[in-house]
């Protein structure tokens, strides 16, 4: 199977869907002539032209709103937000419009749009370019929210998202665009509502999504050296939140760690923990341990930033503690 970087897997998904369906078009800032600030749309402007790869002004409300209005008229827009932080200026379009339109109009229309955007930090971009907000979107009925952590899932979920009839928040991560992995060629679809065990184990369950999936896998590898068998569940499907593989896993391990790149309080881990207790209370030997970013606006300084985000060591140490090892 060909090995691709995440950004190229995403690019391939976009290209294939644009070739498959002429109603699919892209819009966003500098996605065309500039080839995209993270190069996910590289070459598509040249190949498909400015009508199907629309460069927009710096006006996020217009990007989302145009996508919604075009979708209601039958097209399938894929909007890029340069980073999730900028969606804050267009939150009304995402929540009050995209997510609610179908229901508030009694099903009279639908809004098949995909909003692609990288979240996460770790690049010294400071307090206004480094955050994650998937927990916010996952809270909203009407939205679907996914956050793949491998190139193959990125391609398969993006293709599925473009074909889905609902607004899909497609969360990418600046820190994984260069991540390489095997990616099936052509028609490869990954469901938007299925989470998956990415590594089997029986001592402890680690739940993570997006870039934190990599961190969790690294931690699991390190734990193995210590004789700890960790099972890693990829929480790529956040809304609807597929808990099945987590519950199955807990029944084996009775210990759970959640890892997310965003702030811990009122985060993704809070919901996963609450669900685990509701659905596997009697299987738990210890409280679910939640790992998230330090609750500070991300600092610029490299060393401060480093300790502000969850790393392999945090997961390993937490796992040891949960297992009562030193």
């Amino acid at each position: 199977m060909p090995v691709l970087a995440m950004r190229d897997a995403l690019n391939q998904a976009l290209r294939e869907e644009m070739m498959r369906d002429k109603d699919v078009f892209l819009l966003g800032e500098d996605i065309g002539l500039y080839d995209g600030s993270f190069k996910v749309t590289r070459g598509l402007f040249k190949e498909f032209g400015e009508k199907r790869v629309l460069d927009t002004p710096i006006a996020e409300e217009i990007i989302i709103g145009t996508a919604i209005g075009a979708a209601m008229a039958g097209l399938r827009p894929v909007a890029e937000m340069m980073t999730v932080n900028f969606i804050m200026v267009a939150m009304d379009q995402v929540v009050n419009a995209a997510a609610h339109i179908r229901y508030m109009f009694g099903g009279g229309t639908k809004v098949p749009i995909v909003i692609r955007t990288p979240g996460g930090g770790g690049h010294q971009l400071g307090a206004q370019h480094s955050h994650s907000h998937e927990n916010w979107f996952a809270h909203v009925p009407g939205l679907k929210v996914v956050a793949p952590g491998t190139p193959a899932d990125a391609k398969g979920m993006l293709k599925a998202a473009i074909r889905d009839d609902n607004p899909v928040m497609f969360i990418e991560n600046e820190g994984t665009y260069a991540l390489k992995g095997e990616v099936p060629e052509g028609e490869h679809l990954v469901p938007l509502d299925k989470n998956e065990v990415k590594r089997e184990g029986h001592d402890i369950t680690i739940c993570a999504h997006s870039r934190m999936l990599i961190v969790a896998m690294d931690a699991a590898a390190e734990l193995e050296k210590e004789g700890v068998s960790a099972e890693v569940v990829d929480m790529r499907a956040l809304r609807p939140l597929d808990m099945t593989p987590v519950i199955e896993s807990v029944k084996k391990t009775s210990r759970v760690i959640t890892v997310e790149e965003g702030w811990r309080s009122f985060g993704v881990g809070s919901e996963i923990a609450a669900r685990v207790y509701e659905e596997a209370f009697d299987y738990l030997d210890a409280p679910v341990a939640r790992i998230g970013a330090a609750e500070v606006p991300t600092p610029y300084n490299k060393r401060l930033e480093k300790i502000a985000f969850p790393a392999r060591a945090d997961v390993v140490v937490t796992a040891r503690a949960l297992l009562g090892k030193n």
């Binding site: 009508k51 419009a97 009694g106």
Partner: protein, 337 residues
Amino acid sequence: MKVEQRPAGSQSREALSDRATLLGLYREMLLIRRFEEKTAEMYQMAKIGGFCHLNIGEEAAIVGTISALRKEDYVYSNYREHGHALAKGVGAKAVMAELFGKETGTSHGRGGSMHLFSQEHRFYGGYAIVGQALPLACGTAYAIGYRDKPEVVMSIFGDGATNIGAFHESLNVAKLWHLPVVFVCINNQYGMGTAVKRASAVTEIWKKACAYDMTGESVDGMDVLAVRRIADQLVAQARDKHEPSLLECVTYRYRGHSMSDPDTYRGKDEIKEWQGRDAILSLAAHLQKQKLASQDELQKIDEAITAEVEEAVKFADESPEPDLKDLYRDVYAGEGN
């Protein structure tokens, strides 16, 4: 209302002296007036809940602009949209049923007064966030160009909406991308209790088009013929040249902002003054002066409309409530619901 009775869209100026057209405009304005009077009554009787914003006083602005559209054209509106939906051809029954929250309503009772919608009539909805629908209108207009259709989008909003960011972002791309949109500002002098001059540095709303090198026009929103004439031009410009425009209709709402507005921020005589220029009475006078309709005919039209509105109320009243087990229906598309 019977769609075929509506004046056909985009006619030449001459057409506006033609009897059928004038009676059609008269009929539509009166339908909105009677419908809204009844709506107020139903609200008092608690048949209608939530926020309820009436179009009484704005009939000429609404009918003059929307009647210039064709059936295949689109309308995006705000929460003060009962009349906009009626003018675009949505039936009074379906609208009243929506206000009553019934399953037979335009939005199956899920939307209510602020969220009317009709795919069939391309009435693309009432939105309750000020300015929110302008970017959507641009998106639908983009789709029209994308598919090379001879269609137009009319985006209708209030004077207060011209001070929010989405207005600026929308007009800029409409011009930049040559979108077939006509932006219609219903300047009824107030945004809730705030007069235009207390909210906008420029009180002549049409002038705001200058920042986008866009056609800007202002028209007496109490004169349906004047509104229709300019609307015909701007709709044709959008359809034929893909040149967007901003049209300000200077008008007035006779009633409060919503049914719960104490209405203490303006003088009674100001209201009287505007009522003295009532668009419906003016057109009635014009029709009789021009011998295009007799007092008697106009009376009959009123009776027919009153009956139509009564029917709508009866329909709404007798319609079923949504089934409680359908609470989750239509949150997501393509899930067997």
